[in-house]
Amino acid sequence: MNGGNVIVERERGLLEVERRIADLRSANINQRVDFSAEIAALEKKYETLQRELFGSLTPWEKVHMARHPSRPTSLDFIAQFDRFDELHGDREFRDDPAVVAGFALLSGRAVMAMGQQRGRDTKENLRRNFGMVTPEGYRKVRRLAHTASRLGLPIVTFIDTKGADPGIASEEHAQSEAIASCLYEFTQAGVPIVATIIGEGGSGGALALGIADHVIMLEHSVYSVASPEGCAAILWGDASKAEEAASRLKLTSADLQQFGIIDEIVGEPLGGAHRDPGAVIATVLGSVSAAVERFARSSPQELREARYRKYRRIGAWQTERQEDVGLPIR
């Protein structure tokens, strides 16, 4: 399922060098022959290669980085909270494993944590529908966001989905209404909301967990109005032009920070978050926790008001090009 990932393919070349370094190291110890010079040379080659392969990524390469099978998932982040108790179900029909949610402790503070959850192998991906959430999943999100708001618990979300599930049953069960009701609940919640895009953020299915007082994005994650494949299919009737769509959509963290659509970028090690997940997760949780504490000082009314103003501003009025074409500025 992860075949064709350009990042995974690149890593194969690196893996070979890694293996040779490891071989030489063990030979160095076992045979009492000094291979230090060879090891140093290989390490240098490894570093150069890594910089060449990952030093600067195109938008399309970032899409593949965001989809990398080893990239940390929502549960990998949530597992590093002080505590987590998963809660289940929409109270109407079923529990959707494509989204996880529950009470959690973050730096000693009780919060509601949630995120779309893709599988870490094929079997889990099938069970979790590749992180594509159904209406039942969104209703679980809405229910627990409401509970959090009522109990005064900050909401911490992790976004990682290609998009909402596009199936027959999802349409029968009102996917549109399910997503819309999440948006409604998140604009209304009188508690701090902090969202982090950790992998792929695709379309309304991602935004359903994305209305927040503070939005963080991992450096190589992507966030877009539709998946590049979807965009290419919609505009040009040809999903194979996804690479071109990726370059046009301005879906990288740097673009979106410039647009004022996200608030903070957390950097990744060379080669991506999965090269050092522990450090990346710790940095993200530090940022999330700091943001939660900052917004926790505001009253529910102040939070709603500030969130309204934040989203009210996004759009035509804040783009520079509006002025270029002589449009009225308010």
């Binding site: 209404e177 604009t187 109005v225 659509i261 035509a316 783009t319 074409v325 449009l327």
Partner: protein
Amino acid sequence: MAIPDWLLRRRGKNAESRDAALWTKCPVCGEVLYRRDLSANYDVCPKCGHHFRMNAYDRINMLIDGDFTEIGDEILPGDPLGWVDKKTYPVKLAGDREKSGISEGVVCGIGSIDGFEIALGVMDFHFRGGTMGTVVGERVTLLLEEARKRHLPCIIFTASGGARMEEGMYALMQMAKTTAAVTRLKEDGNFFATVLTDPTTGGVSASFAFEADVILAEPKAMIGFAGRRVIEQTIRQKLPDQFQTAEFLLEHGQIDMVVDRHDLKTTLVRLLQYTQ
């Protein structure tokens, strides 16, 4: 249909020429129809009842008694992403303006319907497939805010292929912006209704379209989150014809009524009578 003053001003000398194409063919029954007969029948095929996609101003003209004061009509699209594919985005927009006779995908304003003053928004599929970019989001938000300020009921007719790709994440964020405005309107006790027309999908259906107190739809309108083609590609089989029609949604508990276009005005007025 007589053309009211506000519409004459809006369309200028083009007011009559839009009817210049004399004949049109019903895509459902194949009947060849005289354009004037069709518009006299609210763009509904007299033979089979097929509801043609309506121009926003024709729709407003059909509903509103006298004057219609537009909101946000001075707000026009920019090009925040500098989008280029076969054409640049501004060139595409110029073509849409030419084709549709409107300046963006929605027309919003205040007017009266059978004596009830309402805030009315009407989307038009002929402009970039009714997609929601920042202008549609801004105009709809201004309408909802004006309705709240003046304690008016708000009615929005939707027709949309979803979020507008050429404005990227700015377009997606309009779902958040319009939702925030709906939240405030409803908190203040205003009545909010939507009428879903063919088609209503994606970012519009998953935001304000399905956040209304009462949701109506026109017969056979295609309504859903994912487009039919996307679903067919995902499940690798053909979908039944009835799937995602207004009637299908009514049966599945997603909307309140399916209303023929001829009965829309009286139905909306009846609903407004309960909420005054």
